[in-house]
């Protein structure tokens, strides 16, 4: 089976999809929203997995899916009743199936014991089927025993002479079987002589084209054994009169008779060479695929190739911007065509990059699909009941992001199940359905992906959280916090209000780590809740981690990149807009609000930067946790897409810097981590809880950047 092993990966990938389908349909069955096709779809999924498993010899998988399929077959035919209990068993079976597929994919030990046990349970139910199911013996490979004469054992290699009487009935032709082909097949077994019997052939006028009138007596000399002879006729046995005798009287050649191939005759005499030509033509034609209407909706590509493509296009973007930069220095009036050409190049490069990035976009479905099982396992362990509703699983993000969202989502769902959802009794007492609902949704918004995990549990106990925070010294005693500020406390390190830190979600990995990781990706996470009604975690992430939009700025003679998503606007403040606090900190007044100023050069200990904001520029930025800030820079160089390069591959994290990019001149420019800078300088517009009144102008927590005004390049030159 070497030839087909190349399809192993295709098969395993297909299994993933089938398992997801299985999950979806089983959920429908469980929820009572199943349609009549549901059981059929479930059956087909398991059936396909089994078929492939057989091709690649995944024995345990074959055996288990065989039992699973048998039960499903009986269920869909109504021979076995589908009860809620049995549906749960089906879920378990699908989990085991998934594990077996996983083991086959990794080449690791399959969970044979668990599978066998469950298989027995499945078989037990199958055996209760109303009508006795077919005796399915695994080795009914061929219908070997429809035979007439008993198998006579021959010495291997002994040539025997068979006399075959073959009289097809009309039925045979209705099945599009072709006697000529059968006779040809016999020829491959040995020497053949054919005698046609025309006795039943009527006059031309009386011939009914669909009727069968001819018969043949075929003499075959072969050492192949009777089974092989019979096999030639395996499809047509019921549609003809077939007698196979062994002609003991085999002296020499049998009576000579007309060797007439009544059907197509000598037409294919030169068959051999025709075939070769056909082969060659087929090979050439193979490149031009398929017949009319062969529609190709998708192709599979190695991820490596796509990654390489993305990298190459990234380098192309860098080179192109380098050319553009160089062109800036050229006298533009003289080289209009050239500069125009470069502008076109820039446009095309940008388009190319967008297209290439789009290739890597994948629906979040692959991550979402793992969650139902997670919910099942956790609710089992906790004795709670919950169902998972997913929305927007077709929403796409870059592959680099997909891999990163699985852990945070898992963590937050566990959190909801563990702390958010009440036990069934408590829920019912509160007038809620015993089954909790967790809604996992994804959508695009403002160039980012927004993922919500919402539960209808008890919500966050604000007073308990506040008390805990006070205990920990995170909040000044006596300070009053708004509900959303309290909710944000959950992301403080080591925070847990659970009396017992359960194994599920409190294993030392708190929400603080989740937040840190998400922020490391340029994302944000927050939580909001309504006591008694539920909690909702919201996570936003950029659509891709490979490139981003950035503003190139200069501070202290050195270039930096500010992520565009953080930028609100840029401005050159008037002298009077800049105010000084007694501490020496400075604020800039913008439309009635006061924002703290952060000098980039100072934060990075760079000398020679513009000291006076009114002579430099202030980029107003906003971050998730630290609110707004005005970044003081020397100048703005412009906005562009930058390819994100890791600093941490070969070095350590640098506070205030999230990653780096390579500018057109080939030099590295750090990408600023605004929130990191704010932390470093301890600047924020949302001061630590308890000091709410300190800054004039009040404190407003903004949750989203409603509009981002992009500075126009020419404005500042």
């Amino acid at each position: 089976m070497d030839d087909l092993s190349r399809f192993r990966d295709t098969y395993l990938a297909e299994c993933e999809e089938l398992l997801r389908d299985l999950e979806t349909h089983l959920s429908a069955l469980h929820d009572g929203t199943a349609d009549s096709e549901c059981l059929n779809s479930i059956f087909r999924a398991v059936h396909s997995i089994k078929a492939g498993a057989g091709m690649f010899k995944f024995t345990e998988l074959v055996d288990f899916s065989h039992e699973f399929e048998a039960l499903l077959d009986n269920m869909r035919d109504g021979r076995v009743e589908v009860t809620a209990e049995r549906v749960d068993l089906l879920f378990k079976a699908s989990d085991v199936l998934a594990d077996l597929v996983g083991a086959a994919a990794e080449g690791s030990e399959p969970p044979a014991a668990a599978a066998n046990m469950l298989a027995k349970d499945l078989a037990a139910i199958t055996s209760t089927a109303k009508t006795a199911p077919e005796a399915n013996t695994p080795d009914q490979a061929t219908r070997g025993d429809a035979g007439t004469s008993a198998e006579q054992s021959r010495q291997p290699g002994e040539t025997v002479c068979y006399r075959i009487d073959f009289y097809p009935a009309a039925e045979l032709f209705r099945h599009a079987n072709e006697p000529l082909l059968l006779i040809r097949e016999l020829k491959t077994l040995g020497e053949v002589e054919v005698e046609v019997d025309l006795s039943r052939l009527p006059d031309l006028q009386q011939i009914e084209p669909e009727n069968a009138y001819l018969g043949w007596t075929i003499t075959l000399r072969s050492d192949c054994g009777q089974d092989a002879v019979r096999e030639v006729f395996e499809f047509v046995e019921d549609d003809c009169r077939l007698d196979i005798h062994i002609d003991a009287n085999d002296a020499g050649s049998p009576a000579p008779s007309e060797e007439t191939d009544a059907s197509p005759g000598r037409r294919n005499g030169a068959e051999g060479s025709d075939r070769k030509q056909a082969d060659r033509a087929a090979e050439e034609g193979q490149a031009a695929k398929g017949g009319p209407g062969a529609r190709i909706s998708s192709i599979r590509v190695d991820l490596d190739r796509v990654d390489r493509l993305v990298n190459m296009v990234g380098e192309l973007v860098i080179t192109q911007s380098m050319l553009s930069q160089q062109a800036d220095d050229l006298p533009s009036d003289r080289l209009i065509q050239f500069t125009r050409g470069l502008e076109e190049l820039a446009t095309h490069t940008r388009e190319l990059q967008e297209s290439v990035m789009a290739i890597r976009m994948q629906p979040v479905k692959s991550v979402f699909a793992r969650m139902p099982r997670l919910v099942r396992e956790v609710t089992d362990k906790l004795g709670k009941r919950a169902r998972l509703v997913t929305i927007g699983e077709e929403t796409e993000v870059d592959k680099t992001v997909i891999e990163e969202i699985s852990d945070p989502i898992t963590h937050m769902i566990r959190n909801s199940l563990d702390h958010g959802l009440e036990p069934p009794e408590e829920r019912e007492a509160a007038g809620k359905p015993a089954d909790g609902t967790i809604t996992l949704s994804a959508e695009h918004r403002g160039g980012r992906i927004v993922i919500n995990i919402r539960d209808d549990g008890r919500g966050i106990d604000h007073s308990a959280v506040l008390a805990r925070a006070r205990e920990r010294g995170l909040v000044a005693p006596g300070a009053e916090l708004a509900p959303d500020e309290i909710e944000d406390l959950l992301f403080e390190p080591g925070f847990s209000t659970a009396a017992t830190v359960t194994d599920i979600s409190g294993r030392g990995v708190g929400l603080d780590v989740v937040r840190r990781n998400i922020q490391g990706l340029g994302g944000r996470v927050s939580v909001s809740s309504s006591p008694g009604s539920g909690t909702c975690f919201t996570m936003t992430l950029p659509l891709t981690l490979a490139v981003m939009d950035g503003m190139i700025v200069v501070a202290g003679g050195e270039k930096f990149v500010i992520p565009t998503t953080n930028i609100i606007e840029s401005m050159r403040p008037g002298r009077d807009q800049v105010n000084r606090l007694p501490s020496g900190d400075e604020l800039v007044e913008v439309r009635g609000d006061y924002l703290p100023l952060l000098y980039i050069a100072r934060a990075f200990s760079i000398d020679g930067a513009v000291d006076d904001p009114s002579h430099g520029l202030v980029v107003l930025a906003e971050t998730e946790r630290k609110g707004r800030v005005g970044l003081v820079v020397d100048e703005l160089l412009g906005q562009q897409q930058v390819v994100i390069k890791s600093l941490e591959d070969n070095y350590d994290p640098v506070p205030g810097i999230s990653a780096a990019t390579i500018l057109g001149n080939g030099l590295v420019a750090p990408i600023l981590d605004i929130e990191g800078l704010q932390s470093m300088s301890q600047i924020s517009t949302s001061p630590p809880p308890g000091l709410a009144a300190a800054i004039p102008g009040g404190v407003r927590r903004t949750d989203a950047i409603a509009s981002i005004e992009q500075p126009e390049r020419n404005q500042w030159t």
């Binding site: 990298n311 990234g314 380098e315 050195e558 934060a603 990075f604 200990s605 760079i606 390069k645 890791s646 600093l647 591959d649 070969n650 070095y651 350590d652 640098v654 506070p655 205030g656 810097i657 780096a660 390579i662 080939g666 030099l667 590295v668 420019a669 750090p670």
Partner: protein, 191 residues
Amino acid sequence: MDLSSTTDPTDRPAPTTAGDGESGSGATERQSVGEPLQFVTFTVAEEAYAVDIMQVREIKAWSEVTRLPNQPEHMRGVLNLRGVIVPIFDLRCRFGSGLTDATATHVVVIVAVADRVVGILVDAVSDILTVSAEQIRPVPEMETRGDKDFLKGLATSDDRMVAILRLDALFDLNELAADGTPESAGTAAEQ
């Protein structure tokens, strides 16, 4: 000079065990004692040093680097090595002799250390030194404990002492982030 063509890029750096008993850290015997070992030698502040040739990826002339803020003095910055960001460490500064006044005649040796690729700024690169394991002498116990930890041994070339560096100890990057002065780095390495 690009040595990467002579070294197999997939080779993991294999610290030599050199029979001096000082190598530690579970390094496996790469070759039986007696087989010759090769090093790239270079000078920093008039002293000669060497690194295992298997760890050297590339040698290039000094070019402008981008400083990263608030890093130890000997961390000169990062540079773009064909699309990969690589940190460059000033060895002269690391050894306490002040910052290199780097020009295009200075050399950066790109090395692979653990899973990372970093560059070290040196004055000039000399020959490739080939010695046998027995010819490498252990570093004697000295007053300042620091040195011993990032030296693997001492060799002799043309009557000059060549100190063989243990790159992984020299660039235990976590420890550098803390302070970065050679003394503290040395003490940290002792833990």
